[in-house]
């Protein structure tokens, strides 16, 4: 009975896994390949999965593809970091530049539900000025979407994910009450709180996409602490748990283990996608194609789809597909304290300060926030080995003191630079597709922000009595920017509705449309954009503008 979900597709024969019950199934509508469906969506993460739900509920026929397996969290997820590497996209890629990006856990996912299956659940809104950095703050580039418009879609996404957050959020314009109350703080979070109070800045409980009260078939969070290797209780409101069951119910089809390799065009319009499933190449006809593969796979697919009509790749008349790749800075400060911390207990980022997203009195551009940390053992060993060059007995001895280690980690804004980009390498992967080359270098602005942030976090730890403090200087998280949205076809790839300027029935809906990445985790913003795009498509369809 036990089939390997990484080898054999599960969503087939009119049914898909019911992630809420062990061994359960839900019925799934299936579309024949020669039927021209309204929307093919490539990727089922924060962008694609959310949009699949929105479009299916709006009455469109939707087939959503994911290259990864359809996991059942209640059965397939182990309390084991190594086993859970199966959630990351670890296919061949070339990374280069002055600061090559470590691809894997912090910035990719290869599973139905995408990287939200293992994200840290931090669900924050951009500050209003983040949408207008050029005109309001003098750097980067403006978004073509107004923050007030986004505020409504943040509301929608927060309700759908039953976000647990503080009763009142200390920064930014008024927002509605979070659907659920905040979780209790663990010791690591209390250290952030006391440090912030000692330094005279505000802190709060982090709004998280994990339940603090039972909702539907999901039990509240049990504080198991393996959030970033996949929640095995379904308290985490990943796309796999929150949006896709709704999408299936509304008639969407999900094809797991289905790698889309090329988008076909004729007469300058998309006609469908070529995809590999169970070792064979297939073609699915579609009226519209949405690419939602995140900031590496999205430009890769657009570039790999180059043909006679579009020799530079699809949607690339601006030449910007793959360019302006951004990460977020993820440096940390650590120390030792007398108290027992056991920071791996509970969600890893229970407390946050967004002070430096709202205080613009800095000698560099951009914002950053910081959160308490709760690394699992292997992650911690890697931090110590990489950050402090500990090895052998010295590493073992330091690992043994982990229960008293406490740390703070930043999420910092990286500016868009055209030199940071995704291109195609000549090598090919297991599907026979050209692999991406990911080129990335930090600039002086990022270096200044890192210095500022690590110094400040170090001061916060010092203020609460942490000793033997050290800084972890080499880490990044999240991606964005390789198919940016904008005001015109010359300076952007898609418009505010995520529709490509060049091909009217080609859309991009994921983090790659971000013109700037802001100083907070991006997942909620991606989902809010997907909600907005879903509504816009519905409106345009009603007006016959598709």
């Amino acid at each position: 009975m036990a089939i390997d979900p990484e080898q054999t597709p599960r969503a087939k024969n009119g049914r898909a896994p019911d992630v809420m019950t062990p061994g359960g199934w839900v019925s799934m509508r299936e579309y024949p390949e020669n039927e021209e469906v309204d929307f093919v969506i490539v990727g089922t993460g924060a962008g694609g999965g959310t949009l699949a739900c929105k479009l299916a509920e709006a009455g469109f026929s939707v087939v959503a593809f994911d290259a990864g397996p359809y996991f059942r969290p209640l059965e397939d997820f182990a309390s084991d970091e190594t086993e859970q590497n199966k959630l990351y996209w670890t296919d061949d890629r070339i990374v280069d530049g002055d600061h090559p990006i470590k691809m894997g856990s912090n910035n990719s996912g290869k599973a139905v539900g995408g990287s939200t299956v293992h994200f840290a659940m931090v669900s924050l809104r951009f500050r209003p000025e983040h949408f207008k950095t050029r005109t309001a703050l003098g750097y980067g580039v403006d978004w073509p979407i107004d923050w007030q418009d986004m505020w409504n879609y943040y509301d929608e996404a927060e309700r759908a994910l039953h976000i647990s957050g503080p009763v009142s959020y200390p920064w930014g314009p008024k927002r509605g009450r979070y659907p659920l109350r905040a979780h209790p703080l663990n010791a690591a979070a209390e250290y952030l709180a006391r440090g912030a109070e000692a330094l005279g800045i505000k802190w709060t409980e982090t709004p998280l996409a994990t339940l603090s009260a039972p909702i539907g078939q999901s039990a509240p969070c049990v504080y198991r602490g393996f959030c970033v290797t996949g929640c095995s209780t379904n308290a985490k409101q990943s796309v796999l748990v929150a949006w896709l069951p709704r999408a299936l119910k509304a008639g969407a089809e999900i094809r797991d283990l289905a790698m889309v390799g090329r988008i076909e065009t004729r007469n300058r319009r998309c006609t469908g996608v070529h995809y590999q499933r169970e070792g064979e190449w297939h073609f699915q006809k579609a009226r519209n194609v949405v690419v939602a593969g995140y900031a590496v796979e999205t430009p890769r697919l657009l570039l790999n789809s180059a043909n006679e009509e579009f020799p530079d790749g699809l949607a690339n008349s601006s030449g910007l597909v793959g360019k302006n790749l951004m990460v977020q800075l993820n440096q940390a400060a650590w120390g030792q304290v007398d108290d027992e911390i056991r920071s791996y207990k509970g969600p890893p980022s229970l407390a946050i300060s967004e002070h430096w997203n709202y205080d613009d009195d800095k000698d560099f551009h951009g914002g950053w926030s910081y959160m308490s940390q709760g690394p699992l053992p292997i992650t911690w060993a890697k931090s110590l080995a990489g950050g402090r060059n500990l090895w052998g007995q010295a590493l073992i001895d330091e690992m043994a003191r982990n229960n008293h280690s406490v740390g703070l980690k930043m999420v910092g804004e990286v500016l868009p630079y055209e030199r940071n980009r995704v291109t195609l390498a000549d090598d090919t992967d297991q599907y026979g597709l050209k692999i991406p080359r990911i080129t990335f270098s930090l600039g002086p602005n990022e270096e200044a922000m890192i210095d500022h942030a690590t110094d400040f976090m170090d001061k916060s730890l010092e203020a609460v009595g942490a000793r033997e403090r050290w800084k972890e200087m080499d880490d990044t998280c999240h991606l964005g920017g390789t198919a940016r949205m904008g005001f015109d076809a010359k300076t952007s790839v898609v418009d505010a509705d995520c529709r490509s300027w060049d091909i009217p029935n080609l859309w991009v809906c994921d983090g790659s449309v971000f013109p700037t990445v802001g100083g907070v985790n991006p997942s909620l913003t991606i989902q809010a954009i997907a909600c907005r795009t879903g509504d816009r498509i519905k409106q345009m369809s009603a007006r016959g503008e598709l």
């Binding site: 503080p166 109350r181 209790p184 703080l185 109070e197 603090s212 509240p220 049990v222 209780t233």
Partner: protein
């Protein structure tokens, strides 16, 4: 009834806190003692035993008041001090109050059983003092339920019930006390509140079931789920309120 609710609830919650502060056993001892003495009073209403019950009721009241201090200290010492998160997750500030109430009600019952009309300067036979105390008790218990059900984000509509009904009951009882006129509607409201406290155990048991592993994982979920022994505190108070009404009626009859 109130004593039982306190014993079970504080036992469960203080066990959860691993009795980290040795003083955490006191409410268990004093509520057990209260149950013992009050139970015996039920058996032998005319017993002239004085010292034991008196010590018990005084201990209950004192433990309640001191506990209030401990719980407030526990809230305030956390980062942020008086914040919602600390009120939700630190020691519940209002809970020890129930023990103090149990002490006061126990003393009252004692005095009345022995045919005494007063407890210190307070006249008891009219029922009005007990009625007022019960009204306050109900309001305090409602405050606790309101806070903790807000922590649960009122995810189940029935969670509004203990927030909505008892204040009406308390107001009606207070009105009767002020007017010195027991009304039928108050009796009905008190009966409904008493029933609600018992039904609440069922809802809380369902709440426990909705945690990961359900009742199969009872050793964990009894501690993290909604507290099953808490709702009967309403029942205990409502019964005291009914007693107060009876006293008021009796006296009116006597006056003719």
């Amino acid at each position: 009834m109130l004593g039982l609710s306190v014993l079970a609830d504080s036992g469960l919650e203080h066990y959860r806190g691993s009795f980290r502060n040795p003083a955490m056993v006191f409410p268990l001892l004093s509520s057990s003692m209260a149950i013992g003495f009050n139970g015996r009073r039920l058996e032998k209403p005319l017993s002239d035993e004085k010292t034991g019950p008196l010590v018990s009721h005084l201990t209950s009241a004192a433990t309640g008041v001191v506990g209030l201090g401990f719980h407030l200290y526990n809230v305030m010492k956390r980062p942020g001090g008086l914040t919602f998160t600390n009120l939700f997750y630190a020691a519940p500030a209002g809970a020890p109050f129930a023990l103090a109430l149990a002490g006061a009600l126990g003393s009252t019952a004692d005095r009345l059983a022995r045919g005494k009309d007063t407890l210190g300067p307070i006249h008891l036979t009219s029922g009005r003092a007990i009625g007022l105390l019960t009204s306050f008790g109900l309001i305090g218990t409602v405050a606790e339920a309101t806070l903790l059900h807000f922590r649960g984000a009122y995810h189940d509509p029935f969670m509004w019930l203990p927030v909505a009904l008892p204040p009406v009951t308390a107001a009606s009882l207070a009105r009767d006390v002020v007017d010195d006129q027991p009304r039928q509607i108050t009796t009905s409201l008190l009966a409904a509140t008493a029933a609600m406290g018992l039904i609440g155990v069922g809802f809380h048991a369902y709440g426990v079931a909705r945690n990961m592993g359900g009742w199969k994982n009872w050793r964990q979920n009894l501690l993290v789920g909604p507290p099953t022994p808490a709702p009967p505190a309403f029942t205990g108070l409502a019964i005291a309120g009914l007693g107060a009404l009876m006293l008021m009626k009796k006296r009116r009859k006597a006056r003719g």
